[in-house]
Symmetry: C2
Subunit: 289 residues, 2 copies
C-alpha cells in the first residue's frame, strides 16, 4: 500500500497540527479507519507554529474537513475558531476542529474520551467519590466532563500547584453543579482522599516513559472496590496500575482514553461510527513496537 | 490500494487549489509519480475561493510543500506569495507555489512546459518565425518563455481582441529582447502570417471539447515544413492537428504541454527527476477513458 493511490479531487482532508507532531499516532489511526470503511478521506500531519494562519487556511480549503489539535496549540486554537461548545469554553482548550462549510467548530474529545473509557469499562459514576490527582490541562477536560455527566457525589482535586488547583476548582464550581473539593497534594491529604475515593484518576506525568516505575500513590492506600484510571499510556501499564491490579482493583489504562478521543474525533470528522477494533489495533501495534 | 495507508507524520503535502477542481487530473498524476519513486509525499485537491487565506495556511503548515494553482486563481495567487520569478511577474500569472520553510515562491510551468514540448519533439526555435494564435493567459506564458529562450527570429501574435493583443505585445516588447509583431485576426492576416510562419502555436479554445471539429486555420494555408502545436488537449487530436497531419506536417498536442507542466511542478516539489512515463500513462488513461 502506497501513498495516495486512490486520492481523488473529492477526497476530504483531515490533519493533526502541533509542534512537534513527529511522534503522533493520529495519521496511522485515522487512515486505517478511513481505509477500513472505504471512506473518501485522508489524514495528514502538519507541523505548525502559526495556529492562526493554519486555521485561516483550513477555513479557506473547503474540503479540509477536520483537525486534531495537539500540544502546544490546544489553548491558542480556541481563539481562531468560529464556534466553541460551552463545556469546552469552560475547559479552556480544544483538541478537535470541524470545518462546516467555512465555519470552524472547536471542541474537545479528551474529557468525553475519558468518560467513555469509564463507562465502557462498566464503571457507574452515580453517587461516587472521584479523586483526581493533578489539575493540569487533561485533568480540566476530564473534571468538567465528569462534573457534567454521570452524577458523581463529589470530585476532589489534589495538585501541588496552588494556582492551577485553585483555578480549576473555581472554574468547576462556577461552571458546573458538581460538588468540588480540592487540596494540596501531600502524604496526608493523599491518604485522606484515598480513604474515601471510589474512583481514582491519575492526571500527572508521573510514571510516564522514560520515568517509568514510579507512582505517587503508595500501594498501601488502595482499598477494595476502588477503580484506578491512569491517563498515562506509555507504558501501557504504569506502576500505579500494576500496584492497583496486584491489589485486585479494576484498572483502566490511559490508552482507552487515547483511543476514545480518536474515535470521537473520527465520528465528528466523518459522521459515521468508528471502526473501533481497527483503531485500537493500530494504537496497540504502535505502542508495543 | 487505499487512501493513506503509508502516510506518516513526515509526509509532505502538495495540493491543487482552484474552483472547480473536481475534474483535475493533478492528484492522479502526482500521486502516481510519488508512488512510483517511493517518495514520502501526498497530493490532494482543495476547492478554494479565498486564495489569500489558503496561502496563509500553506505558509503556516510547514510540510505543505507545494501547490498547483488553477483557474480562477492563477493571477490572484501572485498577490499572496512572497517571491515571484521575474518572467512570471511579466507573464502576470503563476500555476505553482513552493513552500520553502514559510517562504512562498510563485512560478509558472505552463510556458516552460510548452517549450519542453517543442524541444522534446526536436523542434529547433533558432531563427524561426513563431505564429501565436490567441493572446490570452496561456499564450502570454508561452510567448514570454519563447521570447526569452531558443532564439526565434520573431513572434507574431494574432488575436481578435485588440486590448488583450496590444497588452501582450507591449509587455513582450518591454519585457524581452525578442522581435514581436501583432495583428488582428482576420482571414487576410491569418493567411499572411501562415505564409511566413515556421511554427504555429494555437492558444484559443477553438476545437476544444465539446466544440470539437472546428479549426481556425483553413487547411489550405499549411505549408511544408511547418510545425503545428495546439495547446488544446481535449480531444487529443484536434481538427487543427488532424488537418496539419494530413498535410504531412509535424504536430505537437497540448497534452505534451500539459504533461510537461506537471513534470516541471513535480521536479520543483520534490527536487528529483520526474517519472515521465508513469505521469504520461496516467494522463493518457484519464483522457482516453
Amino acid at each position: 500500500m502506497k501513498n495516495g493511490r486512490s486520492i481523488k479531487t473529492s477526497t476530504r482532508i483531515c490533519a493533526i497540527i502541533g509542534n512537534p507532531v513527529e511522534h503522533s499516532l493520529s495519521p496511522a489511526i485515522h487512515n486505517a479507519a478511513f481505509t477500513e470503511l472505504g471512506l473518501d478521506f485522508v489524514y495528514v500531519a502538519f507541523r505548525v507554529e502559526d495556529v492562526k494562519h493554519a486555521l485561516s487556511g483550513m477555513r479557506a480549503m473547503e474540503n479540509f474537513r477536520g483537525m486534531s489539535v495537539t500540544i502546544p496549540h490546544k489553548i491558542e486554537a480556541m481563539k481562531h475558531v468560529d464556534t466553541i461548545e460551552d463545556v469546552d469554553r469552560h475547559i479552556g482548550s480544544i483538541n478537535t476542529i470541524i470545518n462546516d462549510s467555512g465555519n470552524l467548530l472547536g471542541l474537545g474529545t479528551d474529557g468525553p474520551g475519558a468518560l467513555k473509557a469509564l463507562t465502557d469499562a462498566g464503571v457507574n459514576l452515580s453517587g461516587k467519590n472521584i479523586l483526581m490527582l493533578g489539575g493540569g490541562g487533561a485533568a480540566r477536560a476530564i473534571a468538567f466532563t465528569l462534573a457534567n455527566n454521570g452524577g458523581a457525589a463529589a470530585i476532589e482535586i489534589l495538585d501541588i500547584n496552588e494556582t492551577i488547583r485553585d483555578q480549576l476548582t473555581m472554574d468547576l464550581t462556577t461552571g458546573t453543579n458538581a460538588v468540588i473539593r480540592s487540596n494540596s497534594m501531600t502524604d496526608h491529604t493523599l491518604a485522606k482522599a484515598m480513604a474515601v475515593a471510589d474512583i481514582v484518576i491519575h492526571c500527572t506525568p508521573v510514571g510516564m516513559h522514560p520515568k517509568e516505575g514510579v507512582s505517587i500513590v503508595p500501594a498501601t492506600l488502595f482499598r477494595p472496590g476502588q477503580v484506578v484510571f491512569d491517563i498515562v499510556y506509555t507504558p501501557l501499564e504504569t506502576k500505579l496500575l500494576a500496584d492497583a491490579k496486584s491489589k485486585g482493583l479494576q484498572i483502566i489504562s490511559g490508552v482507552d482514553m487515547f483511543i476514545n478521543q480518536a474515535i470521537l474525533q473520527f465520528e465528528r470528522f466523518t459522521g459515521v461510527d468508528a471502526p473501533v477494533g481497527v483503531m485500537r489495533r493500530v494504537v496497540m501495534e504502535h505502542l508495543k513496537s
